[in-house]
């Protein structure tokens, strides 16, 4: 009892081979698209590499790149095979390779599916990485004289301006760290000395934020210093003022950005997976129908094509037996010879 048996005339077989040839070439193009999507994601993650802590998130773009390249190769081979299948004499060349090819491609489509699912699962790791990375970056904002960290100020400022965000969770993160380097603090002034003394760790903390947190949509010139002090500014109320600074935290802004990219990529990979699966089904039908034709002997006659020769359970049983007998081939047969 074959699974999904279909009857194929000679013209139907030829047409199937031609259509599959074209579809395989389209699949090569989708393989290239997968590769470039992986490359794009890799570049985007590396661009903000300074703001991400060491976490294992590079595996997603690497997987996509590998899958893309393998998809190109497999579908290129598939295209060649289908092109030759139109001519039955050429099919004999490929006869032995086709079944392993189909099995390999079947397992490969699983890889594509895993790649798609990974895109959606990266979310948690990415959030952790961004949380730690941004906290570090904000702490080292003032260290423009330390080699290796001297560009962190510029990176954080450009991040605020580009993604329209402030701080890690919000602008109040800047109140908890010293973001003005000691080089620019006049230690002889009373006010500075007071602030330093009032802090346990001797840090100069102020209720102010860097200029890059300023919201350009505010109707009022930006208030960066003494943000929590309502009396320091005319007609200003700290609790109700929403347009003065960017309200969103940079972690959330970056997370939204990357989630959006990865959801689009994930969707594209899923569509590619479905396409690959359908091409594989077509190739399987082509293979079985051509083999049946050769078995019947008459090359122009009709033949059956199927997905599996016997039912699913029987095929599984037969394959298990084959695997078991392979395992047993090394054992000595304990049954005495009659």
């Amino acid at each position: 009892m074959a699974v999904l048996r279909l009857r194929f005339t000679k013209t139907k077989r030829d047409k199937l081979a031609q259509v599959l040839w074209i579809l395989n070439w389209i699949s090569v193009v989708t393989g290239v698209i997968l590769f470039s999507l992986g490359l794009f994601l890799k570049v985007e993650i590396n661009k903000r590499g300074e703001l991400m802590a060491e976490r294992d998130i590079q595996y997603v773009p690497n997987m996509l790149i590998a899958v893309g390249i393998i998809a190109c190769a497999i579908n290129f081979l598939g295209g060649k095979i289908c092109y030759d299948c139109v001519d039955t004499t050429k099919f004999l060349r490929w006869k032995l390779i086709m079944l392993p090819y189909i099995i390999c491609t079947f397992f490969f489509t699983f890889c594509v599916l895993v790649g798609a699912l990974m895109c959606y699962s990266m979310h948690g790791e990415l959030e952790e990485s961004l949380n730690l990375g941004l906290a570090e970056a904000i702490r080292f904002y003032k260290d423009t004289d330390t080699p290796g960290r001297c560009f962190l100020k510029r990176t954080v400022d450009m991040l605020h301006i580009e993604f329209q965000c402030c701080g890690n969770n919000g602008y109040k993160d800047w109140f908890q760290i010293q973001w003005i380097s000691n080089r620019y603090l006049d230690m002889s002034k009373k006010e500075v000395a007071d602030r330093l003394r009032s802090n346990v760790e001797g840090k100069y903390l102020i209720d102010g934020v860097p200029f890059s947190c300023c919201n350009i949509n505010s109707p009022r010139p930006c208030i960066q210093q003494q943000i929590t002090n309502n009396s320091a500014h005319f007609n200003y109320e700290h609790q109700t003022e929403e347009l003065n600074l960017w309200m969103k935290g940079c972690r959330q802004a970056l997370l939204e950005y990357y989630t959006h990219i990865m959801q689009s990529i994930g969707l594209t990979v899923l569509i590619t997976w479905l396409f690959e699966l359908s091409v594989l089904t077509g190739v399987r039908y082509l293979q079985t129908s051509l083999e049946n034709v050769l078995r019947q002997g008459d090359l122009d006659s009709e033949s059956d094509g199927w997905l599996l020769e016997n039912s699913f359970m029987e095929t599984a049983r037969t394959n298990l037996n084959i695997i078991k007998s392979l395992g047993k081939s090394n054992q000595i047969d304990t049954q005495p010879k009659a």
């Binding site: 423009t144 080089r183 006049d186 005319f234």
Partner: protein
């Protein structure tokens, strides 16, 4: 004949095929020129709020027009090519082709004019930006006046995007009140002093908006009391270069647009070259095919040329034709007298000489 070339039938066929490909390539280039014009126009429109006049828009307008016209003319050329090898269909192109050459010449002239204009209008662009930016900076504080409420956002975005400050430099902000009166505490002594010390009653300070801040500065941005060295620790106003953007926005925008227009220069010049080559090839094809049709054996060799007579003679011919067309409307007094005299002479002849019949 000017620049004669001999054409066999096969050469004519090759010429027609090559010209067909060349004219489709020219159509593609026409599309590219049109897209360049559209891109330039959108960039200019995006910054229209800081520009005073739209004189500079003539460059993208001409580019778009020429792009469209070039698509049309080169498509016509490809149709003429297709018909050129068919002896029944080619004769009706004769008059069209004359008009076509005129249009192609006009297009080439316009393209060269565009390249010249893009350099010549730089001064006008700078003037327009100067006035536009000055107004933008003046109305920066008017976020409550309808029609000007987005001026602040526009100027802030511009300064951050182009990394510039003010019109010529950051000192332009010292001459303008950029803090709205709504946010000034008029009971405070400092505010009252400042306003009284100014002739026009404006609140001027030696500070700039936050968008002038340079993120590349190693120090947190200093926006206020910029000229006062003692207001900030370890700060010297004259030698501080990294704190704010040192370039003026007028300079930044002019540089940006000039670069944009100069980068279209090579594209435009290559279109001119392609158009000229299409022109020349079509002329050769036309004369060769016409020559072949005039022969007894249409498949034989014919000559193709650029001009039938020499350059001087062709110009004289054109002048004579033009004058004839101009004179067409006028009544020629000499001719009228001459014709009446001739008529009289004829009558006299008739009466003088008896008719042979009688």
């Amino acid at each position: 004949m000017l620049l004669k070339i001999k054409f066999s039938q096969q050469r004519r066929v090759h010429l027609a095929q090559g010209l067909w490909l060349l004219s489709w390539m020219a159509v593609m280039w026409g599309v590219i020129i049109f897209c360049l014009g559209v891109y330039l126009k959108t960039e200019l429109l995006r910054r229209a709020e800081v520009m005073d006049n739209t004189e500079i828009h003539v460059v993208p307008n001409i580019l778009m027009m020429v792009g469209l016209a070039s698509i049309g003319t080169n498509w016509v050329a490809s149709r003429a090519c297709q018909d050129s090898l068919d002896a029944t269909r080619f004769p009706r192109w004769k008059v069209f082709l004359l008009a076509w050459f005129a249009v192609a010449a006009v297009l080439c002239c316009l393209l060269i004019a565009v390249v010249v204009l893009s350099y010549a209008l730089q001064g006008s662009l700078e003037e327009s930006l100067k006035v536009g930016l000055r107004n933008g900076i003046r109305f920066y504080k008017d976020t409550d006046v309808p029609g000007r409420c987005f001026q602040k956002e526009t100027i802030d975005r511009l300064q951050m995007e182009f990394r510039c400050c003010g019109n010529s430099n950051f000192k332009d902000w010292f001459e303008v009140q950029w803090v709205n009166n709504r946010y000034l505490d008029f009971t405070s002594k400092d505010v009252k002093d400042r306003i009284r010390s100014n002739v026009d009653g404006r609140y001027l300070l030696d500070g700039v908006p936050f968008s002038c801040c340079n993120p590349a500065s190693p120090r947190p941005c200093l926006q206020l009391q910029l000229t006062d060295n003692s207001a900030h620790y370890n700060y010297e106003y004259q030698s501080e270069e990294l704190n704010l953007y040192s370039r003026g926005c007028r300079q930044a925008l002019t540089d940006y647009f000039m670069e944009l227009m100069n980068s279209t220069g090579p594209g435009v010049l290559s279109v001119v070259l392609i158009q000229l080559s299409v022109c020349l090839s079509l002329r050769y094809l036309q004369t060769a095919v016409e020559g072949a049709m005039a022969l007894e054996d249409p498949e034989g060799d014919s000559e193709g040329y650029l001009l039938e007579k020499g350059v001087k003679e062709t110009i004289e011919d054109l002048k004579a034709n033009a004058l004839k067309m101009l004179k067409f409307g006028q009544v020629d007094p000499n001719a009228a007298e001459g014709s009446s005299e001739a008529a009289d002479a004829e009558k006299a002849e008739k009466t003088a000489s008896p008719t042979p019949a009688s």
